[in-house]
């Protein structure tokens, strides 16, 4: 191969090299151009507008806002020298809504007493729809002499509660737990 041909080939090789390098650089830029293109395509096609927050409802769909149920709180003691009462006597709640109420107990005796609360419901068929998530009745409560305690109940009324039930009475009765009394001295 003579020198003239070699030089000519080398020159055209360099030209091809430059062109291909430009293509490579443009494609590097194209990678970044895909970012605004993607956002635009999502916006135009309505697939998703990445600039808007997701359209997720903040409303709790599990709560039935169309009706209210009255909950009456009742408190009794059985052969026990405690005072026991709800802080609020009644409350209106939506079915499905999580609610917390507080009961107050006071041990009027001068010795520690262990008691256990037992719940009951009126009407009786409401019991299966009344879901207690947290309740002082889940454990025995031991109060020192003259101690006062405020105890929570967290509950949800199942939205499946029959329409005929407008009022539920939640009634607790505290019993002293047998065999826990310590003989003085």
């Amino acid at each position: 191969m003579n020198d003239a041909v070699l030089t000519e080939t080398a020159a055209s090789n360099r030209q091809t090299l430059r062109r291909l390098l430009v293509v490579a650089l443009l494609m590097f830029g194209f990678g970044f151009a895909l970012v605004p293109m993607y956002e635009k395509i999502c916006e135009v096609t309505g697939a998703r507008n990445v600039f808007l927050p997701d359209d997720v409802s903040t409303q709790n769909t599990q709560v039935d806002f169309s009706r209210k149920v009255s909950i009456e709180f009742d408190a009794n003691v059985q052969r026990l020298e405690w005072t026991f009462k709800p802080v609020e006597p009644y409350l209106d709640v939506h079915p499905g809504e999580m609610t917390q109420v507080v009961y107050e107990i006071r041990n009027t005796l001068d010795r520690p007493v262990t008691g256990q609360a037992v719940p009951s419901y009126g009407p009786r068929e409401a019991a299966q729809y009344f879901k207690k998530i947290e309740c002082f009745c889940f454990q025995q409560q031991t109060l020192g002499p003259g101690e006062v305690r405020r105890l929570p109940v967290v509950f949800v009324v199942d939205p499946a509660l029959p329409k005929s039930v407008n009022t539920i009475t939640l009634s607790y009765t505290f019993f002293e737990v047998a065999g826990t009394r310590k003989n003085p001295g």
Binding site: S12, N13, T16, L20, A24, M27, G31, L34, Y38, T45
Partner: protein
């Protein structure tokens, strides 16, 4: 035929000049000879192939039975990640670049590649990238999957940074290599070698190199965005800053799908040389082959989101990508038809290169069919990320690309080394590979259909039997490749002297115009092609 004598004589005249290269290791560091560089690419890819293979066997050993056996889940994830990256970027791609370096100048009658110095750089970047990649395991690695999806990558440890830089360097190497290949093919063909007279292997590399120049920079951009998201406060993929992780998948697969064809198209090229040679007939439908390959390359840019059916795409998008993907089966079908038609009424012989080419033809077509199954959106949704996908892409990557590369090595080994390989051992290599490959991967179709997810180190009890079959196959396949190493070493050291044209039906310039072994410098005076 006088060109043979001329070139042979010429090579001998320059014999002293040939050995102007430095002695020892520096010869390989400083070489600009396309044959030296081709050999280095091939050996590099074989070393990476063994390394990726050891990782695959670690995966298969862990999956021998359910529960955690030998590795921690983090390390298992790193193994799947590095196995994928090393096999794609370290083994298969450099292997075909090795073929390109050796063969393209000889097949088009050029003295060397267009930019020999840049060629040296393209190769020597690879070991650097490989060291970066593997050393990232020492700093905690990055078990993020070879696809490197955000947001996992934006939250991974420092191993991820090394991985990103390794991908950058691999990309630079590929782009430089591709520019070299395109320039060589466009500017340095022998007189009379028009584009439509080029051997099919050269055509496939011209198309592949264009694909590489177009998509490697996009991958570089994607990992650069990951890097700036990690360290420089950008929010390309960070939803908290207004970015979108799904965007990463779009950019990645805009690179990733053409990448599939970057691996497959040179494999088509090798097979398009081997099948005519052993059928003793010219390639059937040469022009349709060129057009089919070009259409595959163009279509490969338009189908990327078929990897993303489960990202919540609009139905119109899913339909478009489904039909566009199925469209690729048409030009691919043309190619398979042409290979079969080339063999039709040919006088066939079944030496090792032909066996591997036929293995390619059968198994690649099978992998293509499972690809069609996965192209269908409603079918893909339950199969997404299951072993069915693993089986599918190993049929096209291993039985497709790797078998084609092995076919090419056996085909050109006599020309490269001057010696014949051991035909009996070659046939053993083929049959063992064929059997163990299918034992390994065929059962994975069933595992995937039964719902076994990929990239998970543990599995449900009922998958045990098929996983054990697959693991046995994997170890058999891995050991068989050591036989290949032995065959190649034996050929180089003590093979029988090969004739200039050991294959009857081979008709490209390296067989018809050059002695065996090919001299260090060839075609300093270009041959004239009629």
């Amino acid at each position: 035929m006088s060109a043979v004598i001329d070139n042979h004589g010429h090579a001998h005249d320059d014999h002293h000049a040939d050995h102007g290269h430095p002695p020892g290791l520096m010869r390989w560091v400083s070489t600009t000879n396309h044959k030296d560089i081709g050999s280095m690419y091939l050996w590099f890819s074989f070393i990476m192939f063994l390394m990726g293979g050891v990782m695959a066997l670690t995966i298969r050993a862990e999956l021998w039975q359910p529960g955690m056996q030998i590795v921690q889940p983090e390390f298992f994830n790193q193994m799947t990640t590095y196995h994928g990256l090393i096999m794609v970027f370290g083994a298969i791609m450099p292997a075909f670049v090795g073929f390109a370096n050796w063969q393209i100048p000889m097949m088009i009658g050029a003295p060397d590649m267009a930019f020999p110095r840049m060629n040296n750089w393209s190769f020597w970047l690879l070991p650097v990238a490989a060291i970066l990649l593997v050393s990232s395991l020492a700093v905690g690695g990055a078990g993020v999957g070879w696809t490197m999806y955000a947001p996992l990558t934006t939250q991974a440890g420092p191993g991820m940074d090394l991985l990103i830089f390794a991908v950058h360097i691999l990309g630079m190497s590929s782009i430089m290599g591709s520019i070299n290949i395109v320039t060589t093919i466009l500017n340095m063909r022998a007189p009379g070698m028009t584009l439509m007279k080029m051997p099919m292997f050269v055509w496939t590399w011209l198309i592949t190199a264009y694909l590489l120049i177009a998509v490697m920079p996009v991958l570089a951009g994607a990992v650069t965005m990951t890097l700036t998201d990690r360290h420089f406060g950008t929010s390309f993929f960070n939803a908290a800053g207004g970015g979108d992780p799904v965007l990463y998948q779009h950019i990645f697969w805009f690179f990733g799908h053409p990448e599939v064809y970057i691996i497959a198209i040179p494999a088509f090229g090798v097979v398009s040389q081997v099948i005519p040679a052993f059928s003793r007939k010219p390639l059937f439908g040469y022009a349709s082959m060129v057009y089919a390959t070009s259409s595959i390359a163009i279509l490969s840019f338009m189908v990327w989101a078929h990897h993303m059916y489960t990202t919540g795409m609009p139905v119109a998008g899913q339909l478009y990508f489904m039909y566009a993907t199925m469209l690729i089966a048409v030009p691919t079908g043309v190619k398979v038809f042409n290979w079969v038609a080339t063999m039709w009424r040919g006088s066939l012989t079944f030496e090792t290169p032909m066996l591997f080419a036929l293995g390619f033809l059968f198994l690649f077509t099978l992998g293509g069919f499972t690809g069609l199954v996965l192209a269908m959106t409603p079918v893909d949704v339950p199969l997404h990320d299951t072993y069915y996908v693993v089986a599918h892409f190993h049929y096209v990557m291993v039985a497709g690309a790797l078998f084609s590369a092995l076919s090419g090595v056996y085909f050109w080994l006599p020309k490269w080394t001057g010696n014949m390989y051991d035909e009996t051992l070659g046939k053993w290599h083929f049959w063992l590979s064929m059997v163990f490959f299918n034992i390994t991967f065929f059962v994975q179709h069933f595992l995937g259909l039964a719902g076994m997810p990929r990239r998970i180190p543990d599995y449900n009890l009922q998958f045990t039997a098929f996983n054990q079959i697959s693991s046995i196959g994997a170890f058999g396949f891995g050991l068989t490749q050591l036989l290949f190493l032995y065959v190649v070493l034996k050929c180089i050291r003590s093979g029988e002297k090969a004739p200039d044209k050991p294959w009857d039906g081979a008709d490209t310039l390296e067989w018809t115009h050059l002695p065996t072994p090919a001299p260090y410098h060839t075609f300093e005076n270009p041959p004239t092609v009629k």
